[in-house]
């Protein structure tokens, strides 16, 4: 595939804005943005996108709610939440015939929604970076942790590893951190299994990620369930031939043994799914725990913990629709 000169980021939430602000500030890159709201597109076209915090940049961009106004591009990065991927992709169906599509959602399996709408080569990805969106035109870059990318399936389902290395170089050159893997699945599954247990248990129990998640001394300590659920996920990964890059249970114990971000206070991370539940907004459970349940069914393995937590979160979402 050709050299990357033109990039389109789909969705300009916190993660999308970080990508637009950094990559769009490179002098040799033409940045376009596909957004949902007319006012958002207008603001970006008039003022560009400003990044503060870990970076200090302003990117000039071409933004629109209509993909046909954005011209041809070499790389599309879908940066919406999983719950908006389907709507975003169907909107640019038939456009960007020369582009590869890069994904960066939580969980696993959203790539399928892209493939159902077009034959673009797909780059799978996940990100640990974080930012806070201050306005439509301003994002604060908080955690400068990496984005990991790799091929989805086998060529021509993906653009080939050489092209993925080009994307890695582009993102690193922009000031963000990116690592390309020839096989993304070991890191992807490690994070997925970790998130699946911690996010769903947190959502159902209204409990931030606190040291209680690693307690196993008494039978009724929550860590037992976390550990057993993660072990179930690891068995499903193994059945798919995936050797994990990190042990999810060790990731859990390490995370909760850290202090809080303000020095002395106890680590108590409010996971994205708990935040969704507290705001009664639909969660990403279909692409996190749901993807593990589907993966278990594909290989004929039982997944009682994942099925239970998946169904409990779906039930909880249903409860918001019940009138008193």
């Amino acid at each position: 595939m050709r050299e990357i000169k033109r990039v389109c980021v789909v969705g300009a939430g916190a993660i999308g804005s970080l990508l637009v602000g950094h990559i769009g500030a490179l002098p040799d890159i033409s940045m376009t943005v596909l957004v949902r709201r007319e006012s958002h597109a207008r603001d970006l076209n008039e003022n560009g996108l400003k990044v503060t915090g870990k970076s200090d940049l302003t990117a000039r961009v071409l933004a629109s709610t209509d993909p046909t106004e954005l011209g041809d591009v070499d790389l599309v990065i879908i940066a919406t939440k999983t719950t908006a991927v389907e709507a975003s992709v169907s909107k640019f169906k038939g456009c960007f015939p020369n582009a590869a599509v890069m994904m960066i959602q939580n969980g696993m399996g959203c790539e399928r929604l892209v493939r159902e709408n077009g034959s673009w080569p797909i780059i799978a990805g996940l990100t640990f970076m974080s930012g806070v969106r201050k306005s439509d035109m301003h994002v604060d870059y908080e955690l400068d942790t990496p984005t990991w990318i790799g091929p989805w399936g086998v060529e021509p389902e993906n653009p080939g590893y050489a092209y993925i290395k080009q994307v890695e170089a582009l993102i690193n050159r922009s000031g963000l951190i990116c690592e390309a893997y020839e096989d993304l699945r070991p890191v992807q599954w490690s994070k997925l299994i970790f998130n699946s247990a911690v996010n769903t248990i947190g959502a159902v129990t209204n409990t931030p990620h606190v040291p209680f998640y690693a307690d196993t001394e008494n039978l009724s300590d929550l860590g037992n369930l976390v550990r057993d659920m993660m072990a179930e996920g690891v068995a499903i990964a193994h059945a798919h031939g995936v050797e994990l890059s990190s042990d999810p249970w060790a990731m859990n114990c390490k995370a909760v043994s850290q202090g809080g971000s303000h020095g002395s206070d106890v680590y108590a991370h409010i996971t994205s799914m708990l935040d969704d539940v507290r705001h009664k907004s639909y969660t990403e459970v279909d692409w996190i725990t749901g993807s593990i349940v589907r993966a278990a069914h594909d290989v004929g393995l039982p997944a009682p913990y994942h099925e239970t937590l998946y169904r409990l979160v779906k039930g909880l979402e249903k409860s918001w629709t019940i009138k008193e």
């Binding site: 159902v204 409990t207 209680f212 369930l225 019940i322």
Partner: protein
Amino acid sequence: MKVCIIGCGAIGSLFAAHLGRLDDVEVWAYDPYEAHVDAINKNGLRLTGESDFTVQINARSNAADIPPCELGIIASKTLHTRAAMESVAHIFVDGAVCSVQNGVGSEEIIAEYVPRVIMGTTFPAGHITEPGVCNQDTKGLTTIGPFDGKPATQAECDRLAEALSRGGHETESIADPRGAMWTKVIFNCASNGLAALTRLPHGINCEQVRDLMSAVAQEGVAVAHALGVALEKDPEAMIDYGKEVAYLHKPSMLQDVEAKRITEIDSINGGVAAMGEGLGVPCPLNRAISDMVKALEFSWTLEE
């Protein structure tokens, strides 16, 4: 005969009031809730709703003021069983105490404090509307019998059942009360434990997670079988019947969760899981639900 009700909340009040109608039974009631105790002593204990009468009984918030009794009925929430039994043990130096509480595990605790124990399962429901007044929401059968770990005599059970029935609170005395108890607790594991986590009323929970309810119930069925208990009814049929007659009913544990009150999870899903684990019958789903409801209770201590 003298009978002492231990824990005179809604369920305890139903038992106390019906026994209080009898001339040959002297009813005492122990409850730490002083306003309720004072109102009962001043105006009598009044039932409304499905029952409608007022009786004079002796209520006390200090157990030391209660004389020795032949029989006791404990109706406190299960998380207070041990504290309550510590307070009243002296009343039953030669008595039998019957649990009409939810779930499993209470009889074992009661047995540490009194010489003889009766296992009971009760279906009537009510709620306290003001101090001294309990509304009977539904009538229903109570089943009692000797607790095999430290049994009361069948004659004691018969005597208590006869008095309750004569007072208008239909009660059956049988040789093996475990079938009734396990039937109810298995139903409660499926209806209460899951509703506490999905926050859905029973009928809607049936539409959303009916297969999980079955999986949870079947773990309980396996424990009952391992104990050699013959269930009285099929828990699956009870779950479906509940959907027909109580579609929008919020199980009591969901009501507790909404009010941020400590639940009876240790006696329901947690109790069944612990019994199963002791017998080598794993109950991973009941254990998971119990752990998560405990975590939910814990979460209330984190919020400002």
